[in-house]
Every structure is written in structure tokens, then in C-alpha cells.
């Protein structure tokens, strides 16, 4: 009898790997049976995880770290043995503002869009109606990528612009009613706003930090220890799901599965577009192909790089106004568990990076890196402003962020 794991998720396209691992039978073949529980808020996904109603959860990566550090609740150590995907969010502005920042037929250039937006932000602040951005959660990569971009463009978050938490299904409404001027959200929610003519996509978060960590599979540390064997089976199943997911030949079938009422309960056309890296930027416009908008499998995308957890910690310090603390930094870094990933996949032929940390943002071009089996090619992982994050000097990086 296969051991059962219960996994909580939010109806977003990047919940695809556990869903497809189940639907294509990869999990059963690996000897683990999956029960998926859909919720509509991260608070509920986390509650179920913390109180034992689920074994694992599809989670915004910073929330796994915040929970471990006890931000907002008593600390509970979480572990991330697998990254569910990189990037995949977009920044959508109200059409009038999109026009002001020069949005055209393609995605913008982050620095240029940011410079034009800084102008709008100044005007609006002077008029006593500062720009407001909707993000899905304080502890989300959406929030961190958006703030990183704004700050690097000279727009000081919380001083020049305001933020509001907006659940993904309500993003289009919030743009329409003017509750927010822009949103940073995953798909299909940008497309829903575009379809209703209330927003225009100006940037993909992959343009802010290419190959930036997005959703993760998180478990309570004691549960990972207790169910280690089943979790490793799940990791193998999700890797197979990833390989299946990125094959364009399977796109239509996978979109149809994800669109089902039990999963995303959404429009299969919009979902198919998103998972094939295609975006309709504005209503009535052309569909744009932006390669690697979502990044679910290649280049060991699911490997939990400790340096990425450390980067998320730097942003938490920055935007929560916390003091840098070496013990916290270490706790945050330890949330990501490359050791579990390696032990699950050893012997499967999946590339296993030799290092557990890397200098984030340092690759400008295709670079060969060492794996346990030889080498693997990683493409650019740059931040749009060209800065690099060296996990050996977290304090220095935070200080330089200002």
C-alpha cells in the first residue's frame, strides 16, 4: 500500500508539478499516493500545514522562511526540499499608467519602465494620492521582486508608493475599481485583468531577477524527518512531472488537467497560454512569446539553492525593517534542503549540482557548472540592475541595498 501524502495548494499554474505527478500516475509509480487540498488563501494553506491537516504545501518561498523565523506567529521550522518553480509572475498596470510608462506591443525594459514610473509616482505622491500596488502576500516573491525593482529605479517602497494585499482572484477587480494601480501576481490572473481590459502587462518578474525562486514545496521539519521516504518518492515523481510539463507536446493536455474544477477551475485557454510562456499584454494586442516566463524543470530549476533562501532573508530584513541577525540568517538558509533533493534523485540521471550555494546574479551568459555527474549548463541568472548577491557576505549585501 503506497503511503499517502496530503498536499495543500492554491489554484495557480505553478501548483502544476504535484497536480501532474498525481494525474499522470508518476506518484503512484514511485509508490506514493497524493491527496491534494485546494485552498484560497496562503493563511489557510499554512494553517493546514502547521496543524497537521496537510503533510506538505505549495507555498510562496518567503513565507516558508518567515514561518521558520516566527514572523507574525510563533516560530515553526519548515523545510524546503524542492522548488516548485522559478519566476512566472508579471507586473500589470492600469492601462492609463501603462501608457505613461511607454508600454508598447512588447514587454518593457525594466530600467526604462521604472524611470518613467518614478515620474508618475512623484506626481501622484505630490497630489496626495500615492500609487498603490497589490501583492498577493507580504511574504511572497511577488512582493520582493516588485519592491526590488521599484527601489532600484529610485522609487522608495512605503514612502513613494503604497502596497496592499490583494488575493489573486480579486486582482482584476482591484485594478478596475482603482483600489490599486498595479499588481504583481502569477498567471492566469494577469491575463484575466488584461482580458477585462483593466490592466496591461508591462514586465515579467523573470526580467527583474531571471531564474528567481518562486513557489516551493514546504513541510514541517519533523514531518519531513518522519515521512522522509515518501517525500523522496514525491520528489522523484515531481521531477518526472516537470519533464513532462516542459515538453511542448504535452502543453494542451496539461492545461486541460490544470483547468479542471478540482484544480485551478479556470479557463484552459488562458492556462495553456501561460504554461507555454505566452502572454497577451493588452486587450486586442498580439500574443507575445517570452521564453522561460515560467521555469519549472530545466537547469535543475527545482534544486533548493541555499543562496536563494539567503537572498529571500536579505529582502525580509530590508522590507520588514528587521535588524540583520546572523542566527536568523543561518536559520533562514537552512530552510532549503539540497541534501534531501540530492538523496531523492541520486541515480535517476537528474543533474545534481555539486555546490549548494552560488553567487546569485553572477551569470551573464551560458555557463557550465559542476554536477555530481559532470557538468550542466546554466543560463543567465541576472538581476536587472546587474547587482550580484554573494551568500558569503549577507551583511554587506544588505548594507549596500540601503
Amino acid at each position: 500500500m503506497a503511503e499517502e501524502l496530503t498536499i495543500g495548494f492554491l489554484p495557480l499554474v505553478d501548483a502544476c508539478l504535484p497536480i501532474l505527478a498525481r494525474e499522470h500516475g508518476f506518484a503512484e509509480e514511485e509508490g506514493v499516493s497524493l491527496r491534494l487540498v485546494r485552498d484560497v488563501s496562503w493563511a489557510t494553506v499554512l494553517d493546514r500545514l502547521l496543524y497537521g491537516q496537510s503533510d506538505a504545501a505549495h507555498l510562496v518561498a518567503p513565507l516558508a522562511i518567515a514561518t521558520t523565523l516566527g514572523r507574525g506567529r510563533p516560530a515553526q521550522p519548515l523545510s524546503v526540499p524542492f522548488v516548485l518553480g522559478l519566476n512566472g509572475n508579471a507586473i500589470t498596470l492600469r492601462p492609463d499608467i501603462a501608457r505613461r510608462v511607454g508600454a508598447g506591443s512588447g514587454l518593457g525594459e525594466p530600467a526604462a519602465v521604472g524611470a518613467a514610473l518614478a515620474e508618475v509616482a512623484r506626481e501622484r505622491r505630490a497630489a496626495g494620492r500615492p500609487l498603490r500596488f497589490g501583492v498577493v502576500h507580504r511574504y511572497s516573491s511577488h512582493n520582493y521582486m516588485l519592491r526590488y525593482w521599484l527601489a532600484a529605479c529610485g522609487i522608495q517602497p512605503d514612502r513613494d508608493v503604497e502596497f496592499a494585499t490583494v488575493p489573486p482572484p480579486f486582482c482584476a477587480d482591484a485594478l478596475e475599481t482603482g483600489e490599486v494601480d498595479g499588481i504583481c501576481v502569477g498567471e492566469p490572473w494577469n491575463s484575466v485583468a488584461v482580458g477585462r481590459g483593466v490592466g496591461q502587462i508591462v514586465l515579467a518578474t523573470a526580467q527583474v531577477w531571471r531564474r528567481g525562486v518562486e513557489k516551493v514545496l514546504a513541510l514541517r521539519e519533523p514531518v519531513l524527518d518522519e515521512k522522509r521516504d515518501a517525500v523522496e518518492r514525491l520528489i522523484r515523481a515531481m521531477c518526472r512531472a516537470g519533464r513532462h510539463f516542459v515538453d511542448p507536446a504535452n502543453c494542451e493536455a496539461n492545461a486541460a488537467i490544470l483547468a479542471r474544477a478540482d484544480y485551478l477551475d479556470g479557463d484552459p485557454v488562458l492556462i495553456r497560454r501561460a504554461i507555454s510562456d505566452r502572454l497577451l499584454l493588452s486587450r486586442g494586442g498580439e500574443i507575445v512569446h517570452y521564453p522561460d516566463f515560467m521555469f519549472q524543470y530545466r537547469e535543475a530549476a527545482n534544486f533548493p539553492w541555499v543562496s536563494q533562501a539567503a537572498w529571500l532573508y536579505t529582502q525580509m530584513v530590508r522590507w520588514d525593517g528587521m535588524a540583520f541577525d546572523l542566527v536568523d540568517a543561518e536559520k533562514a538558509a537552512r530552510v532549503f534542503r539540497p541534501d534531501v533533493y540530492r538523496s531523492a534523485l541520486i541515480g535517476t540521471g537528474e543533474p545534481l549540482p555539486g555546490a549548494s550555494s552560488k553567487v546569485e546574479g553572477s551569470l551573464r551568459q551560458k555557463t557550465a557548472v559542476g554536477t555530481q555527474q559532470g557538468t550542466m549548463i546554466l543560463e543567465s541568472n541576472r538581476f536587472f540592475d546587474g547587482k550580484v548577491f554573494d551568500p558569503a557576505d549577507i551583511a554587506g549585501y544588505i548594507a549596500a541595498c540601503g
Binding site: 485552498d39 484560497v40 488563501s41 496562503w42 493563511a43 489557510t44 494553517d47 493546514r48 502547521l50 496543524y51 497537521g52 491537516q53 507574525g72 506567529r73 510563533p74 498577493v136 502576500h137 507580504r138 496592499a164 494585499t165 490583494v166 488575493p167 489573486p168 482572484p169 480579486f170 475599481t177
Partner: protein, 197 residues
């Protein structure tokens, strides 16, 4: 004690409100509108907020609590680890509670118990309703299937029903499933819609 019930289902909100009305010394507010939620909560200044776990605005409310400058800042009841059983019961029932810090546990507990009971009662009501609807839909389909057999094979109504029941027994399926199959097959064969009486 001021209690806010945040629920987009007005029906459920009133079922809960009714239950809480029996408690002494409680002022109850139901918030069923998603828009303006935070402003409304600020206005009510509740000691306790009850919210269903399936409400997407939980993230919005938690963010508000995190940044609120109000002195009495509510925290999720779940973080009070003292009572695992109560927590499990409320997650099972699908209700979350936010309680102003410092509110005595003996005042909260009876209230949460009532809320959990009411949430469960409402869920039962819903599933009874869904079942009744399902039974009704099955009945309609069976009537249509009988009509198809009566028209197509010149059977009487009792004969048509016997045929359907026999097929169900032979195949180990439910009568409604066989009826469904007959109606679908009839449609596929280009038959005229039946039974829209």
C-alpha cells in the same frame, strides 16, 4: 464582547449569528461584503473575528493585523497552542478565529464551540440540500428515460421502469446512471429532446 463574523455567505453568517445570540454580553456584527472589509473591521473594532477558512480575504485581514497600529491587535487563535483539540475542531469545521490578545481563554472557548457547531450544522444543511437536489435531478432523468422507452418501443410506463431497473440490476449500476445513459444515447442518436414538460 464585540464579535465580527466575516463571511461572504449571508446565509451562513446569519446561522452563526443566531447561534452566538444565545451567549450573554455579546454584540455581533456580520460583514458579508468583500469590498471595504478592512475599513469595516477597523470601525467595528471587534474583540473576536470569526472567518471561514475558505475566504480568500484571510490574507488581507492578516496583513492588516500585522501592520495595524491599533493597540488591541488581533492574533490568529490557532497560535494559542494550548488547545490542540479545539484547533483541530475549528479547522475541520472550516472556521478561523482572530482574538484580541489578552482576552481570557474562558471567555473565548464557549464562543468558539458555538461557532464550530454552527459551521458544522451549516455544512450538514448544505450537503443535505445538495443531496436532495441530486435526488431530484435523478428523478427527472429517470422520467425522461422512461419517456424515451415508451415512445420508442411502445411500452407502458411501468414496463419502461421495469426495463431500466432490470438493466441496473444486471449491470450493478444505479437506476439513475442507466437512465442517464439512455438519455445521452438518445441525444447522440439524434433523438428529439424528451420530457421537458
Amino acid at each position: 464582547m464585540r464579535i465580527a463574523i466575516v463571511d461572504e455567505s449571508t446565509a451562513r453568517a446569519s446561522v452563526i449569528r443566531e447561534g452566538l445570540a444565545s451567549l450573554d454580553d455579546c454584540e455581533i456584527f456580520a460583514v458579508t461584503e468583500r469590498r471595504g472589509l478592512v475599513a469595516r473591521i477597523e470601525e467595528i473594532a471587534p474583540d473576536i473575528i470569526l472567518m471561514d477558512l475558505g475566504n480568500p480575504s484571510r490574507d488581507v485581514l492578516e496583513e492588516y493585523f500585522a501592520v495595524s497600529r491599533a493597540l488591541a491587535r488581533p492574533i490568529a487563535m490557532f497560535v494559542d497552542e494550548s488547545d490542540d483539540e479545539a484547533i483541530a475542531a475549528s479547522i475541520d469545521a472550516g472556521v478561523s478565529a482572530y482574538v484580541v490578545d489578552g482576552l481570557a481563554a474562558h471567555r473565548i472557548r464557549p464562543l468558539i464551540d458555538v461557532a464550530v457547531r454552527r459551521f458544522n450544522a451549516f455544512a450538514r444543511l448544505q450537503s443535505d440540500l445538495a443531496e436532495a437536489r441530486g435526488r431530484l435531478a435523478g428523478r427527472e432523468t429517470i422520467d425522461r428515460a422512461k419517456r424515451i422507452l415508451m415512445d420508442g418501443r411502445g411500452l407502458t410506463e411501468p414496463q419502461a421502469y421495469t426495463e431500466i431497473r432490470k438493466a441496473a440490476m444486471d449491470q450493478g449500476r444505479r437506476i439513475a446512471e442507466i437512465a442517464e445513459a439512455i438519455v445521452t444515447a438518445h441525444k447522440l442518436m439524434g433523438g428529439k429532446p424528451v420530457g421537458e414538460t
